[in-house]
């Protein structure tokens, strides 16, 4: 029997799935690695630690769950989070840590570029919003502030390129992940000269571009031996977590959107055309050479509710966050929609779409003497979801959306899925499998093997698990409060500036 393994190098850890050729999950496993914040704006990870963790987990997974069942690993497909940057020397050795998507050190560089004509041009050419997350701005930051590392760098890689180089010896990047670097022209599929010039680098300092279906090279012999894999096991370069989650959510077609909420969140649509926006609020990333994944990302996902739970939840035992969250959700469900007039702006980490303002800050609004703890719980959840809705609304300026598919640990909590249906006033489906990014990678690989004729057909094979119907009564309430939410988020711009400045001094 043959199987396909998907490896997702995510923000907090690595997740592995093994699928049989019918798309059934044989087994899965995961392990985590830390993020270091040596300075307030820094967000870094140790590339060796990620590599070793991945290798260790993969080996155990094969030995415990795959080899004993006599599965033959046909392919291994990779998924990684977007926007990471790792400089390596001529021997492929990392120069410092991986800089992750959440790193904000390039704030000033982003602001300078955003306000320039070139910024508009580059946004249109590359599809990547001008934001410190963009590897383009990270490279520029290195050039200005860490010239030694910049000069030493033989290549500028993403984390996935580094891992694949370790495994196969080749420096490669797929169009999909490359389209999130701010350096790739998403229309011509070539590195964008103007972006490279602006970052101060030449093409030879980037990995080789290839399609998401590409097999870069063979697994090095030593890994074949140590993992017990044959030389014929195909390594498939794969795509990014966002693109794979969209494919795996079965959202295909103009009238559908997918909502992912893990720690952070996003609303995405698939299409053959990009979303054009004068205000530069959307991303437009490539899934394949023919399809774009477009939408907007938010910082204010499940991480905000985790914060709330850590501060105000009641803990049964030490560190028992799961129990606390369950209890909080239960309490929230005992409050009516709209939290009796309590509103929450969830910008604890600044915000990306739709405000694109790193200085935005959180706030509770409308507190009156009758509000209790439970109202705050519900308001916090509603605030996070209003923010998702604000991105959805922005997308709807360009596409009409009739149904939604949700995934991610926070959005998949049934209480939240129902609220999304109510707030959007659209039916919401969840997929049968826990992880849509893994499923997306399976569909990609299976299409490559000819099991599906096209990605369209593959996406249509996704089985929806449960559908949440919008409740009109609640929708009417949310619609009223959302107006106020939107007004507040726009009105407070000057005050966000002031408070952020004060907080920086402290």
């Amino acid at each position: 029997m043959e199987c396909i393994i998907t490896i997702e190098l995510g923000t907090n850890g690595v997740r592995l799935f093994a699928f049989d050729l019918n798309g059934n999950v044989i087994n899965s496993t995961k392990a985590s690695y830390p993020t270091f914040h040596s300075e307030p704006d820094y967000s870094e990870q140790d590339p060796e630690q990620i590599f070793i963790t991945m290798l260790y987990v993969l080996k155990n997974f094969l030995i415990e769950s795959i080899h004993p069942q006599r599965y033959k690993v046909q392919s291994i497909c990779f998924i990684a989070s977007m926007h990471s940057l790792l400089a390596v020397d001529a021997h492929g050795a990392p120069l410092g840590n991986v800089i992750t998507w959440a790193d904000n050190r390039g704030k000033k560089e982003a602001l300078d570029l955003k306000n320039s004509q070139l910024g508009t041009k580059l946004y249109e050419a590359t599809g990547t919003p001008i934001h410190p997350m963009s590897p383009l701005l990270k490279i520029l930051w290195l050039k200005k502030n860490d010239s030694h590392r910049f000069e030493q760098a033989y290549k500028f890689l993403t984390l996935k390129s580094y891992i694949l180089h370790q495994l196969t010896g080749d420096y490669v990047i797929d169009y999909s992940l490359a389209s999130a670097t701010g350096l790739l022209n998403i229309h011509t599929l070539k590195w964008e000269t103007q972006a490279l010039d602006y970052a101060g680098i030449t093409v030879d300092r980037l990995p080789e571009l290839c399609s998401v279906f590409t097999t870069p090279g063979k697994l090095r012999k030593e890994y074949q031996t140590s993992l017990g894999l044959s030389a014929n096991t195909r390594i498939i370069i794969g795509s990014s977590d966002g693109c794979m989650a969209t494919l795996g959510a079965g959202v295909w077609g103009d009238d559908k959107a997918t909502i992912t909420i893990e720690d952070s969140g996003a609303v995405r649509v698939v299409g053959k055309q990009i979303l054009r926006d004068d205000q530069k609020r959307f991303f437009n990333y490539l899934l394949t050479e023919n399809y774009y994944i477009s939408g907007g990302p938010t910082n204010s996902g499940g991480v905000i509710f985790d914060w709330f739970a850590n501060q105000f939840g009641e803990f049964k035992g030490p560190f028992d966050l799961e129990y606390t969250i369950e209890t909080l959700i239960h309490e929230a469900s005992n409050v009516v929609a709209g939290s009796e007039g309590l509103l929450f702006l969830p910008y604890l980490l600044g915000e990306r779409a739709p405000l694109w303002n790193p200085n935005a800050r959180g706030s509770y609004f409308g507190i009156n003497i009758k509000h209790e703890r439970k109202h705050f719980i519900r308001a916090t959840i509603e605030g996070i979801l209003y923010e998702i809705y604000s991105i959805g609304k922005m997308v709807e300026e360009h596409r009409s959306i009739n149904s939604l598919s949700v995934n991610g640990s926070f959005a998949a909590i049934p209480f939240c899925s129902q609220l999304i249906a109510d707030i959007f006033n659209k039916p919401v489906s969840t997929i049968n499998k826990a992880n849509s990014a893994g499923l997306g990678a399976f569909l990609l690989t299976a299409t490559d093997m000819g099991i599906y004729r096209s990605l369209d057909e593959a996406a249509k094979s996704v089985v929806f698990h449960e559908t949440f119907r919008p409740r009109h009564h609640d929708h009417k309430i949310y619609a009223q409060y959302y107006q106020l939410f939107e007004r507040l988020s726009l009105k407070l711009e000057a005050e966000f500036e002031m408070i952020a400045k004060l907080q920086q001094i402290q």
């Binding site: 392990a31 830390p34 140790d46 590599f51 260790y56 030593e222 030490p318 560190f319």
Partner: protein
């Protein structure tokens, strides 16, 4: 509570307890200028507030202590009254001698203590790291201090052993309270990153699960379970992961010898290092080094 003041070498009650430098209850009813100017402690000082309000600066951190609160000042730390004087109120204190302080706040306590070396190491580290010189609402400290007082004054059968046991208990309670207070035992990822940074700072040390667990304020069983579900690895396997990742970095520097790398990253021997490295990566350290330096 009556005042008393025992101190070395004059108080006969402290004969046989050279490690108790001072032991006292003092009721301070008047303010005397310069009665508490800055000093650098050379022993472990534990103060329990019985009455009043004390404003102190410990290691440059300002603290206000109320009845029931405990201040712990470690060797090498500075200590003074906010206004250089001792405030009005009643204090119960003990000063415990340490033989010496080795690196990483390894407190060498002397033969009186029944704590094992690894326990002492953990307690020293925990107190040092928690950056919490003040522990709030610890009535249990007063109880132990009173028991020590009774033992010292009554000198019944076995009192010498009892006093030393109570002092160990004092240190254990303080260490536990300070981990509880320094992380609220809510945000595990945060507590775990803090631990990981400590592990990386001192990778050559032979960390035990007990030590790691103590740093986040959990027992070993709960800690192991939590780490397993959070990271996917047992604590010791997680540690091996960090050791190997560090070793890879060092291997890529051509000037560091494999044996030195092995010891720096916490392996018993280069043999142990090679076996583990090969098992995990498929390469021996030598092969790995050769692979990455051959190119270009």
């Amino acid at each position: 509570m009556n005042q008393f003041f025992l101190h070395q070498p004059h108080s006969k009650e402290l004969f046989g307890f050279p490690h108790i430098l001072e032991f006292a209850i003092r009721k301070n009813s008047t303010i005397q200028l310069n009665s508490l100017s800055s000093i650098t402690s050379d022993c472990i000082r534990i103060y329990y507030v019985m009455e009043g309000k004390f404003e102190w600066v410990i290691q440059e951190r300002h603290s206000i202590l109320y009845p029931g609160d405990v201040a712990v000042i470690l060797p090498g730390q500075t200590f003074q009254g906010e206004n250089d004087f001792l405030d009005i109120g009643t204090l119960f204190w003990i000063h415990i001698k340490v033989d010496r302080v080795e690196k990483n706040m390894h407190l060498v306590l002397g033969k009186w203590s029944g704590l094992s070396e690894s326990e002492r190491l953990t307690i020293g580290r925990v107190l040092h790291l928690s950056q919490m010189p003040v522990l709030v609402k610890m009535k249990s400290i007063q109880t132990i201090l009173q028991l020590i007082q009774t033992e010292l004054f009554q000198q019944q059968i076995g009192y010498a052993t009892r006093v030393n046991q109570l002092m160990d208990e004092l240190l254990i309670l303080i260490a536990r309270q300070s981990t509880m207070q320094s992380n609220l035992q809510r945000d595990f990822p945060q507590a775990f990153v803090k631990l990981e940074q400590e592990l990386r700072k001192n990778l050559a040390h032979q960390w035990t699960v007990e030590e790691m667990a103590a740093m986040v304020g959990l027992g070993t069983t709960a800690f192991t379970e939590k780490v397993k579900s959070y990271t996917g690895f047992s604590p010791l396997n997680y540690l091996i992961n960090i050791r190997i990742s560090e070793a890879i970095k060092l291997l890529r520097k051509d000037d560091v010898k494999v044996t030195a790398i092995a010891l720096d990253t916490g392996f018993y021997s280069s043999q142990h290092f090679s076996t583990t490295f090969k098992k995990l990566t498929g390469y021996t350290p030598g092969e790995f080094r050769k692979r990455d330096s051959l190119k270009d």
